[in-house]
């Protein structure tokens, strides 16, 4: 497990995100943003791991993250996304949604826009729990069960779906340009279509049996009907939103809440998940290789893969490896990415060959050689 070291940063990290690299260049990402939580003064910070002139005084390890700039943040940083190369949107535990702008010349952050009480209760603050953007549109969800649509170039709110959910909405992601997916604390996956005027979800999917709260959701980058979710019991569920109301396969992943799940953006046979139990797993699937998994090197943990239903008929070539319910046909390997047990890993992000994650042990781990 070379190439991964802890950097202690004196703040519990709730979110980390890579700054997007332009699709034309083949560069590896070099800047990431972090948000802190549970501090008197929370901050968002920008860090650099490249050597583009922002290196510190003692780089003991190559790629030791160096602080570029930071800015005070009101309330815990509940979610953080890059809107574009210069701007970051954050969701706060005070219910505010803030846009930060990074000024490259003097390496500072400023706040051009702030929606202060975006999420609220009739009397009191409601934390905003998730934010997702597709520039210039921003969608946020919160503990008040609202879904709010903003535009970064407009002052006010574009659209609010009041009482979208009677429980807390934990995460949101774009399915298509006009459709979003939300997950809530009674274990439901809801599809919303913004083209419809009604405030009802167009589809509701859930696991039968126990209503386990779901905490994170991510969509397959190429095949838009495949969605992965993780919840309170640490199970990884793969869903096909086109068919059925139940997940396609369930896999035991972690022994505690799964906080984030991400498909690799350019190589979606790889999936990453992190959890309250302090582990970060790298899932790799492929259905073409002939080599059985036990002949491969490295530290792999064998996992049980339980499929809920057999794969529906249809073109074999179009079915992604993730939807291969039978574990005999497909091959799934998991690897622990962190060297030892830590406190909860709250967030991870992966881009190219670089992985960054933040923990409750006030440490950031960066791995620049993820085997993809």
């Amino acid at each position: 497990m070379e190439g991964i070291n802890a950097k202690y940063v004196s703040q519990k990290i709730s979110k980390t995100r890579w700054r997007p690299v332009s699709s034309s260049s083949l560069q590896q990402p070099d800047i990431f943003a972090t948000g802190s939580w549970d501090n008197e003064d929370n901050k968002i910070s920008l860090w650099s791991i490249g050597d583009n002139g922002v290196s510190g005084m003692d780089d003991e390890f190559e790629g030791d993250p160096q602080l570029v700039c930071e800015y005070k943040h009101n309330g815990d940083v509940m979610d953080l996304q890059f809107l574009d190369q210069d701007r970051i949107v954050t969701a706060s535990s005070t219910g505010a949604v803030t846009i930060f702008r990074h000024n490259h010349n003097n390496q500072t952050l400023s706040v051009p826009q702030l929606w202060e009480r975006a999420h609220h209760y009739p009397c009191g603050k409601a934390p905003c729990t998730g934010v997702v953007c597709n520039s210039p549109e921003i969608v946020t969800v919160g503990e008040d069960g609202r879904i709010i649509l903003f535009r970064s170039d407009q002052e006010g709110v574009t659209r609010t779906i009041e009482n979208a959910d009677s429980s807390t909405i934990h995460a949101v992601t774009f399915l298509r340009t006009t459709e979003i997916l939300t997950v809530n604390s009674i274990g439901q996956l809801k599809l919303w279509d913004f083209r419809q005027r009604s405030n009802e979800p167009s589809q509701i999917l859930s696991l039968t049996g126990d209503r386990v709260p779901l905490h994170c959701v991510d969509r397959h980058p190429n095949q838009q009907h495949i969605v992965a979710t993780g919840g309170q019991d640490g199970m990884l569920c793969i869903w096909d939103v086109r068919q059925g109301k139940m997940p396609f396969s369930l896999m035991e992943a972690h022994s505690a809440e799964m906080w984030e799940v991400h498909f690799h953006p350019s190589n979606p046979d790889h999936l990453f998940s992190c959890s309250e139990d302090g582990s970060l797993l790298h899932w790799e699937t492929s259905s073409n290789s002939d080599t059985p998994s036990f002949l491969q090197g490295g530290r792999n943990a064998s996992i049980t893969s339980r499929s809920a239903i057999a794969p529906a008929g249809g073109n074999q070539s179009l079915i992604s490896a993730w939807l291969t319910g039978d574990s005999g046909k497909g091959r799934l390997e998991t690897t622990h990415m962190l060297p030892s047990q830590t406190l909860s890993v709250n967030s991870l992000d992966v881009l190219g060959q670089c992985l960054v994650c933040g923990t409750d042990g006030e440490a950031i781990y960066v791995n620049r050689l993820v085997p993809i």
Binding site: N39, D165, A256
Partner: protein, 636 residues
């Protein structure tokens, strides 16, 4: 956000919020912010707490069944890890202190004060590692002590660099100081290198320099992994010592006072050593140098005698020994408990003593020293440290692991403290809950879930409230929530939050009322989908299986009306009999049930109810007739 605590002392008012206390003194225009433990708030020291927590948890995981030799190496490396963490923090603090030198406020003073505390702490820890954890025997003991001294007297190298980089090193005023300092630390090779510069400039005195050089090279150094035994080394050393003495007696270095001084040092002349107090700067340096040149095979048990005498010789007899001195002396006397006790008194934070004691306890160095409140020393210190961590708004998560490894009182402390963590967001509540659930603290789980559920209910988030009661398996609260739903239904005629009720799943079984709610909603759905016979069956079962509360039966019977009035026969004869039975049950004897506190409006008007009952009776009778006819008909 000032919370409620306030107390008055004479003319002083004290308010406290979760971070600090605010002091207002009558007549004084200032507001004072008082914090209990300042160190915990320093961002650089936070790294110390987090990294050492990581090492601590790793240490607890070392298995007991490993052979003791392997364990010792592991413990030594863990000790080195702790020390490197301290050093890293110290260096960072020094950097910060350097940057703010211009500032006149107290922050610079605080940083440099913290640096000196950390320096002292690392010094003590290093000595404890050498003497207790590594437990070096005679021979290698001195080598370790030399390393210890060299590590903590790093300014020699700096001075040497200055001297050697100047235009004419031999003219530099610190030249001889550097040479002598190297000799005092036993670094003969470096000393010789610097001496060579002088030797090159004085060809006439070449013989003298060669002689000294020879003595320096030939000084025996014990090799612990070598084949040479201690006795052999001793013999060799004595020979060398005699040779040096002879050179002195022969006056070989008489013409050069500097070289003579060096020679006297080599022979172990204590008066000469004491003449170089500024170069030695500390009594323990003096101790180690003294041992190097007089008793290199000192045994651990003999150390304390030399330590005491060195301290007395070096220090001014009038001055009071500093706390650091008495701690080091206690260490040389192998009195671990005294070391811990003195450190606890001298330092304002339990971090150092807690971790050091824990490590030494793992090395089985502490006798089970039962303190009078039951737990042992290690546990007491860890509990104090962890309790301090719990007062911090962010570091409380670290404290949990420390409590876990205190077998006697850790759990109780944790139970008391974990309930006081403020729960601002659901995510934080989930983390706290996970901690409680992993340790089977059911009472705390229940109380936290109840707090969150009540909060959700107040904000009308019924789904959230329900998910919290499911987590706590709190049937009573689930009943409360269901009553709320039913209330809404009776008030509005329709269900709110259908997405929740329709998808209750197995959570329905948590409380009877919740089951009823789910089934009742199912009835409505079946009715909406026109599956009338299924709906009828369900409705009946709700009453006969006693799932529905009696107070709701009237509503259910009223719901049955449209089914009874259908042209097609839905309720069979038997079912109609059952319905009639239910109605009679409801209206017989004690007339109508007393107004329920949840459904008071159901029984407001007696007239309406009598009419309703009449209508029901009529409908039931008609349906019974139709049913009997239908069932009696035989197809020909």
């Amino acid at each position: 956000n000032i919370q409620n605590q306030m107390c008055m002392l004479n003319n002083t008012f004290i308010f406290s919020n979760k971070y600090c206390d605010i002091l207002l003194v009558r007549g004084c225009p200032f507001v004072h912010e008082v914090r209990k433990d300042e160190d915990i708030c320093s961002p650089i020291l936070r790294k110390l707490f987090n990294e050492s927590h990581h090492i601590f948890v790793g240490l607890q995981g070392i298995r007991d069944d490993l052979p003791s030799k392997n364990k010792k190496t592991q413990f030594v490396s863990i000790s080195k890890n702790y020390r490197s963490v301290i050093r890293a923090c110290m260096e960072e603090l020094q950097q910060v202190a350097g940057k703010v030198e211009g500032k006149s406020d107290g922050s610079n003073r605080k940083s440099s004060w913290r640096v000196s505390i950390l320096l002292a702490v690392e010094l003590i820890w290093n000595l404890c590692e050498v003497l207790f954890i590594d437990a070096a025997p005679a021979g290698s003991l001195l080598l370790h002590l030399l390393d210890w001294v060299r590590l903590h007297k790093a300014d020699v190298d700096e001075k040497a660099r200055d001297v050697l980089q100047s235009e004419s090193p031999t003219e530099h005023q610190a030249y001889w100081d550097v040479v002598i300092s190297y000799v005092l630390q036993g670094r003969m090779d470096e000393a010789r290198q610097v001496l060579m510069k002088q030797a090159a400039l004085q060809p006439a005195a070449r013989g003298m320099f060669k002689l000294l050089d020879n003595l320096l090279i030939k000084m025996p150094i014990f090799n612990p992994s070598g084949a040479q035994t201690l006795t052999e080394f001793d013999v060799k050393w004595r020979h060398w010592h005699e040779e040096v003495d002879r050179c002195l007696q022969d006056q070989s270095f008489a013409s050069n006072p500097h070289l003579e001084v060096i020679c006297k040092i080599l022979v172990g002349d204590e008066d000469v050593l004491l003449e170089h107090k500024e170069l030695l700067s500390t009594w323990y340096h003096f101790l180690v140098t003294r041992l190097l040149f007089s008793h290199p095979i000192v045994k651990p048990t003999e150390l304390h005698y030399y330590a005491q005498s060195s301290m007395h010789m070096f220090l001014d007899t009038r001055s009071v020994p500093e706390p650091l001195d008495s701690i080091l002396l206690a260490a040389f006397e192998f009195d671990i408990h005294q070391v811990i006790k003195d450190c606890s008194i001298a330092l304002n934070n339990w971090w150092f003593v807690a971790h050091l004691t824990d490590l030494m306890d793992h090395c089985k160095l502490l006798q089970s020293h039962n303190l009078h409140f039951g737990s042992n020393l290690r546990e007491f210190l860890l509990l104090e440290y962890a309790s301090g961590l719990f007062t911090h708004h962010s570091l409380w998560q670290l404290a949990v692991d420390y409590f876990d490894h205190c077998p006697e009182f850790g759990r109780v402390y944790l139970e008391l403290q974990i309930e006081r963590v403020p729960l601002d967001t659901e995510r934080k509540a989930l983390k706290v809950l996970r901690i409680c659930e992993q340790r089977q603290m059911t009472e705390q789980v229940r109380s936290i879930c109840k707090i969150m559920a009540k909060g959700a209910l107040r904000n009308n988030r019924l789904g959230s409230a329900l998910s919290w009661s499911i987590r706590a398996k709190d049937a009573a609260f689930a009943t409360l929530i269901s009553e709320r739903f039913l209330q809404d239904y009776c008030a509005n005629g329709a269900f709110s939050d259908l997405d929740l009720i329709d998808n209750l799943g197995s959570a329905m079984l948590l409380s009877d009322r919740l089951t009823f709610l789910g089934k009742y909603r199912e009835f409505h759905r079946l009715y909406g989908e026109k599956c009338f016979s299924d709906a009828a069956k369900l409705l009946l079962s709700l009453m006969t299986a006693k799932i529905a509360p009696r107070t709701f039966w009237m509503t259910l019977l009223t719901d049955a009306l449209p089914l009874l009035e259908q042209k097609e026969v839905i309720f069979s004869a038997d079912q109609t009999h059952e319905l009639m039975f239910c109605l009679e049950d409801l209206t017989s004897g004690n007339c109508l049930p007393k107004p329920d506190r949840w459904f008071p409006f159901l029984f407001q008007d007696e007239d309406i109810d009598t009419t309703k009952i009449e209508i029901l009776r009529l409908a039931l009778a008609r349906n019974l007739a139709k049913a009997i006819v239908k069932e009696g008909t035989v197809e020909v």
